[in-house]
């Protein structure tokens, strides 16, 4: 009450100044860069844009990026849900430690995450040498990129689902069990319906990060051009070569994906709130 009245009594110019400063900040840090991406992308005309976007290099990097996302998102969906389930529904020794550990991929720099996998599976380590002798390539190849991306994006789904599942409690599941449902029936018919909006929200965030990840993938992929370069890496290459139109054209694709993600995300958020 007190706060409300004091805010209401704030003189008009303070209010206006506050809003103006905020808008100015947004313009400089968000709108202007976004505008630059698209204006640079189309600077040399639509024809050049089209050519850049359909060049073999960009196309192959789009393919690779989508492949990584397609593998990575389902893996994280399954394991993230399992992990959230066990943390929210059971109490066991080390639960607190596990909950903290989930955050680790967010806490370490992506570059370090990439390095971890290089050291683990690369030619330096015992595991890497053994894999090499078996002719299995992980580092500087698709499996390594997928591993690093999965690691970096792992927390999204578990972190969305744990508080949601905890707030839902076990009553619905217990009711289903007393009615004779099996564990699997209970999960698919009851739990999944209860968490679906939260899960979709987590999947969208995971997907966004999987597509946009740079640092971890840069280390683990070995940057073999046209082979292990995902879309963000290709943009980096093009930029370094002063191929600005091409770089910004590719960047505009990623930006568009980000917009789609944002729209889906806010739609999910609304659903998530409504389902509470």
């Amino acid at each position: 009450m007190m706060q409300k009245t004091s805010f209401a009594n704030e003189s008009l110019w303070v209010k206006r100044a506050g809003i103006l400063i905020t808008l100015g900040f947004l313009a400089v840090f968000i709108v202007l860069p976004l505008y630059t991406i698209f204006s640079e992308a189309f600077r040399s005309g639509v024809a050049v844009y089209k050519k850049a976007v359909t060049s073999p290099e960009v196309l192959s990097s789009i393919r690779l990026t989508l492949t990584v996302a397609l593998v990575c998102v389902p893996i994280n969906t399954i394991f993230g849900t399992l992990l959230a389930w066990s943390i929210a529904k059971y109490s066991f020794r080390g639960k607190k430690a596990l909950t903290t550990l989930i955050e680790l991929p967010f806490a370490v720099s992506p570059v370090i995450a990439g390095l971890m996998f290089v050291l683990l599976f690369g030619a330096h380590g015992g595991l890497g040498r053994w894999l090499q002798s078996m002719d299995i390539k992980i580092v500087f190849a698709l499996p390594g990129i997928i591993l690093a991306t999965t690691f970096v994006t792992f927390p999204f789904i578990a972190r969305t689902l744990i508080p949601l599942m905890e707030s839902l409690g076990n009553d619905d599941e217990e009711a289903a069990l007393t009615l004779g449902a099996s564990g699997l029936q209970t999960f698919f018919k009851i739990t999944l319906s209860n968490i679906k909006w939260g899960l979709l929200y987590g999947i969208i965030l995971t997907n966004a990060r999987a597509i946009g990840e740079y640092g971890a993938v840069a280390v683990v992929s070995g940057l073999i051009r046209g082979e292990t370069t995902t879309l963000p890496l290709t943009i980096g290459f093009l930029f370094d070569e002063y191929a600005f139109s091409a770089a910004f054209a590719a960047a505009s694709l990623l930006t568009l994906l980000a917009f789609v993600t944002l729209i889906l995300k806010s739609a999910m958020e609304r659903r998530l709130k409504a389902s509470d």
């Binding site: 009553d171 217990e174 009711a175 069990l177 007393t178 009615l179 004779g180 099996s182 018919k189 319906s193």
Partner: protein, 356 residues
Amino acid sequence: MSITIENVHKKFGSFDALKNINLTLEKGALTALLGPSGSGKTTLLRIIAGLEEPDGGSVHFFGENITRQPINQRKVGFVFQHYALFKHMTIFDNVAFGLNIRPRATRPTKEIIKEKVFKLLSMVQLESMAKRYPSELSGGQKQRVALARALAVEPRVLLLDEPFGALDAKVRQELRRWLRYLHDETHLTSVFVTHDQEEALEVADQIVILNQGAVEQVGSPEEVYDHPINPFVYGFMGHVNLYHGRRHLEETRASDVTSASNHAGQTQLFVRPHDIELSRDNPSGKGVAAQVISYKALGNRVRVGLNAYQSNETIEANIEKKSWRALNLELNDNVYFTILDAKYYNDENTWSDYVI
């Protein structure tokens, strides 16, 4: 002899939720598990249902040991305090759930399921709600759906965990009567958990009183109310509250009740507020002089706070509004109170009637 519980105990960490419970619940009876929070009543119900596993002991349904039987094979109907209806399903689908999930071989046909669900919905008077979703129903309606859903699978026993706890007073009253009516129709062996003694007295055939993880008393509502086995049960069954003080055993006249508190052979005297009579002039000569320190009208009765002059103790009386009006008392007025009925418990905690 339908549900037998033998030596069941359960710990949560270092907390003894249940200490060696032995109990037999009659077939076809409606039993109340009554106790304060933390008494273990819900834990016991959940162990019967299979939602919780006992650390030791066994649970039998109709002579069959089901202690290790998984929940989904026990055939128990369970009703939760917060309904636990499936939000994303219609009322019809909620009630049909237990039948729809059966493997094809034992699943009734769609027509039979439909018929059965509508029969149950008409029993709980919610036929018209079949196509609605739980969020469109009131609390009382939700709980009736939950009950229909539990009954749809034809359970061997019906278990209800504080089924009316989340409802407002009027709906609670209605549903209580309705549950009793339903039980008289079906005669399904039923157990419900409550912390409300009035609810237990009104609805149950048999009351099990639990306290700190142990059974205090088992009996019919009359037995536990009229013959509480110890001070805890007496206090818990009291309608409003009780007055107790340290009293001298040898002096059994009510007029001495508030005196002689320093004598040897002390005991506790239990008096219900409605077993106290007030008068202005002490016609029987048995009254104790006191001062009116508070009064509050509650419906057709009045709760009067008294302070006995001699012992300087506070006593609560609960009298009819009619007699209160006739007394025409004000705050700080002098009055005499007479104890009509009281109980005391000796050191072994067995009870005796206090002869007046």
